[in-house]
Amino acid sequence: MSASTSSPTAPHSESHAHGGGHYTSLGLDNRKIAIWTFIGSECMLFASLISTYMIYKGRSPEGPFPHETWTNPMTGQVFKPILNIPVTSASTFVLLMSSLAMVLALAAVQNKGQPVKPGLWNKMLASSKLWLWATALLGITFLGCQAYEFTSFIHEGLTIRTNLFGSSFFTLTGFHGAHVTAGVLWLFTLLAIDYKRGLGPGDALLVDICALYWHFVDVVWIAIFTLVYLIQ
């Protein structure tokens, strides 16, 4: 998929890649090396946040708790387990499907200009705008689920200041939500370019870099979903 964006056929003397990037001595575009380096550093950022959550897990003297019922000894108020697994499972599915839409958007950009086979499905597959919109809307849906979750937690008495669980949970999932938001904004910039002048095979690297970031946000959520939501 990425070969066309990472293995230029231009001679060394022409070291400028399409769109203003530069090829390194390895023949790789510097922007793609940059995004992979950035993703590597993001791995360490999220590992630190997940570590913090897991270290503090089960150490809060006061509830509400993620998986256990808690009764406030002062007021007698009963707090149910706060995590909403059905909603989070749905949002996980939404994010996984957004990754599918993203790879289809990249494929549509890379294959633009080639003859499209007859049929509605083939026309849909060839539309980069459709898949970029689908990815962005699925990302917004995920953010909507997160906003619903955060709001319901606050209504149930869990804020970032309530206990160790609240602090580490909101920090971790909030950082992830901020990354999804940045990804959605990035997708809208690609859509703006697509509407203004059209994205073609020469722009594949632009979409590829955004796609790598989007998939990374997805894999981080895969880890968070298991470690935070499912493991009790």
Partner: protein, 113 residues
């Protein structure tokens, strides 16, 4: 440059996944997610010693599948693989190290009070 491409481990055009591959990957990821959530609702399994390892394995498989196929690292240059897997290994080892340091085991052997 073409020599570079041949020697540098660049992906071959023949190895590009098609949209059918992408759909199969999406179906596979969905099925694993369904199994994960299904396992969460079986109390006897949750209380067994197999629950956490099985969830970690399923999560790891999903992680690898997205990175290999959607991020196309399986087909990409080895430098990109190194740029991702190096920091990922450091991150994983740091996480494991911290969990060990702050675990009940650390309290038992006197590292923590």
């Amino acid at each position: 440059m073409s020599n570079h491409a041949a020697a540098g481990g660049h992906a071959s055009e023949d190895h590009h996944p098609t949209w059918t591959t992408y759909w199969k990957v999406a179906l596979f990821l969905t099925l694993i997610t369904v199994v994960e959530v299904w396992a969460y609702y079986i109390p006897s399994f949750v209380n067994s010693s197999y629950f956490v390892p099985s969830l970690l394995i399923m999560s790891g498989v999903k992680f690898y599948t997205v990175v290999a196929y959607y991020m196309h690292l399986k087909y990409d240059h080895k430098l990109f693989r190194a740029l991702f897997s190096g920091p990922l290994a450091i991150a994983a080892l740091t996480l494991i190290g911290l969990l060990f340091l702050f675990s009940k085991l650390a309290i038992k052997i006197g590292l923590l009070s």
